[in-house]
């Protein structure tokens, strides 16, 4: 749990809400990034991620310690969440700025996460003409619209896709307002689904 002997309330709130801007050392930020990636997407961790920790001065023993500590926390949280444990009353004794940072101001609000690699360092890039934000993820080099204005249902998708072979994407965009890139993505997803069915 939280250690008052290490951080005061303001520091703790800063670290919990955005550890990249909390006055931590570069090494500490790198360690937290690693723990975060292990938690969200352990299988995406590459040699480079480990090398980065070495470059920040960690020995292999220390790197393993970080992995163990992060994973043991995962173990605990998974069990507690799955069994419905409620937060201790002690939590309510924390300073309000700390509670707020831990509760709502989570460092990684949903829209800040790359939907592909779950990295948290995405850059908000452009606003499209209808006000949607596009992003770019420096970790996996993917980008796109963050909050799609329309969510198409599966049946709508397949209806629109029926025209895919017969009409040019530009024509489809004109008629349905679906961009060629989106269309191509749907088609690809459909292909994958069919393949799976055949197996």
């Amino acid at each position: 749990m939280l250690r008052k002997q290490i951080f005061d309330a303001d520091q703790l709130a800063a670290v919990a809400s955005d550890y990249h801007n909390a006055g931590l050392s570069e090494q500490e930020v790198a360690v937290m990034e690693f723990a975060e990636k292990l938690t969200l997407h352990a299988h995406a961790i590459q040699k480079d991620d480990v090398q980065k920790l070495r470059e920040h001065g960690l020995t292999d023993e220390e790197i393993l310690d970080v992995a163990l500590a992060a994973a043991v926390r995962n173990f605990w949280s998974k069990v507690q969440d799955a069994m419905g444990t409620e937060t201790d009353m002690k939590y309510l004794d924390l300073e309000p700025q700390v509670r707020k940072a831990l509760q709502k101001g989570r460092p990684f609000a949903q829209e800040e996460i790359c939907p592909f690699c779950f990295g948290t360092h995405i850059i908000k890039k452009i606003r499209t003409e209808d006000g949607r934000e596009e992003y770019y993820c420096p970790a996996c080099h993917k980008g796109g619209v963050l909050k799609p204005k329309n969510r198409y249902s599966e049946s709508q998708k397949s209806q629109i896709l029926e025209h895919y072979d017969r009409y040019k994407p530009e024509k489809i965009k004109e008629t349905f307002g679906v961009s060629p890139a989106t269309l191509a993505r749907w088609e690809k997803a459909k292909g994958k689904k069919n393949k799976r069915k055949m197996k």
Partner: protein, 78 residues
């Protein structure tokens, strides 16, 4: 409340009683997370031992930062 049955402090026996008493002494209350594992005190004790082992090799500050990073990341996905 917790989705499964738990053992209240006044009914605890053996290892579980030791665990509960230890927490009462150390922090004045039994943590809700500890109580969640009360049907399997052996697992709790083993986990606590594991944590202590891992922590003993680390500087507390780093251990806490790692824990915070993992915990924050976990919250966001739910």
């Amino acid at each position: 409340m917790v989705f499964i049955r738990t053992v209240p402090p006044e009914e605890a026996e053996g290892l579980l009683k030791e665990i509960y008493d230890g927490e009462l002494k150390a922090q004045g209350y039994v943590a809700s997370g500890t109580r969640t594992l009360s049907l399997r005190p052996e697992a709790f004790a083993a986990w606590e031992n594991l944590i202590k082992t891992i922590r003993s090799k680390m500087r507390l500050r780093r251990y806490e930062l790692v824990t915070l990073a993992a915990a924050s990341a976990l919250h966001c996905t739910y």
